[in-house]
């Protein structure tokens, strides 16, 4: 039998806090190099100008510890808990919420969470949305993802006809990006979840966004091909950076899939703006 490893709640709180502050101010090298590449090949002046401003912003934000975007997001946290871990000295869920609370307070991040009906702000950016998975091992892996509202608003889950097939899925993804136009702050990353149940497809789409930008799906060549083809089609739409016209409408399409019911074909498209923030740590 494997030895149980003890991890105190305080350690989880500190890790979550640091991940959110870093993700909000320090754009990942995956996004930076994708933007740099796009700036080299963009064929419109306003498009190139916009991409250069994004790079300049990333530098200012990092140098001055300022949030990259005023929308520092709803805090989405993916946690993989090793089954040989024993969490001690407190409440595991609350430890994560407290980490988010401290990050948004100490990092001077915007509190963007409110009551859906009264719209009264909760004041500390909690509750965070937490997805927990139990996995083999004795570590805890935490992925922090501050998710902006503008791009989230351009996302949706649908139940396509099973007969729609791969072609129907591709058309649906491209149509969603076309309809979103300039609204989600292009160039975007398009997360897609195919199959499962309605909520599972949404979760797959969100999880797809935690991949490094432009990294292909390595488990299924049908999906990496779908990613490549859809991206080319999206970048032919002409929307461009910020919707000012050009060929950089998306930096990547990330697709995840799992089997579904014989009657259904759930597809979620979850759009992520160019400030694609995510950070991870293993405790």
């Amino acid at each position: 039998m494997n030895a149980i490893r003890e991890i105190p709640c305080e350690k989880i709180t500190d890790t979550v806090r640091d991940l959110f502050i870093k993700a909000s101010t320090d754009l990942g090298d995956d996004v930076l190099s994708a933007i740099q590449g796009a700036a080299q090949s963009e064929n419109t002046q306003l498009g190139t100008y916009s991409l250069e401003k994004i790079l300049e912003n990333a530098k200012v934000a990092k140098d001055q510890s300022l949030p990259l975007c005023q929308d520092t997001g709803l805090a989405v946290v993916f946690v993989e808990v090793g089954q040989d871990v024993h969490v001690t000295e407190g409440d595991f869920n609350e430890a994560i919420q407290e980490g988010v609370r401290r990050a948004y307070r100490d990092g001077f991040l915007r509190k963007s969470v409110c009551d859906p009906i009264t719209r009264a702000n909760t004041g500390d950016n909690t509750p965070a949305v937490i997805h927990i998975q139990i996995v083999p091992g004795n570590t805890i892996r935490i992925i922090a993802m501050p998710k902006g509202g503008g791009s989230e608003n351009m996302s949706s889950s649908v139940m396509l006809l099973p007969s729609a097939g791969l072609e129907g899925i591709r058309e649906h993804i491209v149509e969603m990006v076309k309809k979103a136009g300039p609204n989600p702050c292009p160039p975007t990353i398009v997360g897609v979840g195919i199959g499962g149940s309605i909520e599972k497809s949404a979760l797959l789409a969100k999880k797809a966004l935690t991949r490094r930008v432009g990294e292909p799906n390595r488990s299924d060549s049908r999906l990496s091909e779908l990613e490549r083809e859809t991206l080319a089609e999206i970048n032919a739409l002409g929307i461009g950076p910020q919707g000012y016209g050009g060929k950089t409408t998306a930096l990547g399409v990330h697709v995840e899939m799992m089997p579904c019911h014989i009657a259904s074909l759930p597809v979620t498209v979850n759009i992520q703006c160019h400030v694609a923030r995510h950070g991870e740590a293993v405790i």
Binding site: G238, G243, H274
Partner: protein
């Protein structure tokens, strides 16, 4: 690329008529911020003919809610939110005096018509460069709806705030023009 025009608030009919979709602008002067809930509240007051907590006549409104400032800074990061959510209120706001709107993303046909009718303007500010844009804000204070936290109405003094004209007084739309011009779709 054409040099940006330097413009100072308050915006007037004449200034707006000179602007064309696609023009780059560096805006300076005084503006206000306001977004979802502030619009809902203001619209209710305007409809009921009640006094407003802030005058709208000739004003330019930025759809934004900044991050809190670190000690010693004027403001945190600031940039536009998506504008369509203010579309149900924007024609009424223009009727009540709003001349300029700053946000990001497409507007409804009703808003575009109202921009033509009121000789107003809708500027796009770039989304996701809020650290950079905060350097253009020289003064910031909450002037109404403090209870809304980041969504409160603020008055800002800005200097050379980088914008681009999206919808002008002739009914033109930069997004539509740009997308159709650069589309390679069959």
């Amino acid at each position: 690329m054409k040099e940006p025009q330097r413009i100072h608030t308050p915006l007037t009919e004449e200034i707006c008529e000179r602007l064309s979709a696609g023009d780059r602008v560096l805006l300076s002067g005084s503006i206000i911020t306001g977004r979802d809930t502030a619009h809902k509240r203001l619209a209710k007051l305007v409809t009921e003919g009640k006094d407003l907590p802030v005058k709208l006549d000739g004003e330019t409104i930025l759809y934004a809610a900044p991050t809190p400032p670190r000690p010693g800074r004027v403001i945190g990061s600031i940039g536009p939110t998506t504008s369509y959510r203010m579309d149900p209120f924007a024609p009424l706001m223009m009727e009540a005096g709003i001349r300029g709107m700053i946000g990001k993303g497409s507007r409804s046909a009703e808003v575009r018509d109202a921009i033509v009718r009121h000789k107003a303007v809708y500027f796009g500010a770039m989304g996701g460069i809020a650290a950079l844009m905060s350097e253009c804000v020289k003064k910031a204070e909450v002037v109404a709806y403090d209870d809304l936290g980041p969504e409160a109405i603020m008055r800002l003094e800005i200097e050379n705030f980088p914008l681009i004209v999206i919808n002008d007084t002739k009914g033109r739309d930069l997004y539509e023009n740009a997308t159709s011009r650069h589309s390679m779709a069959p």
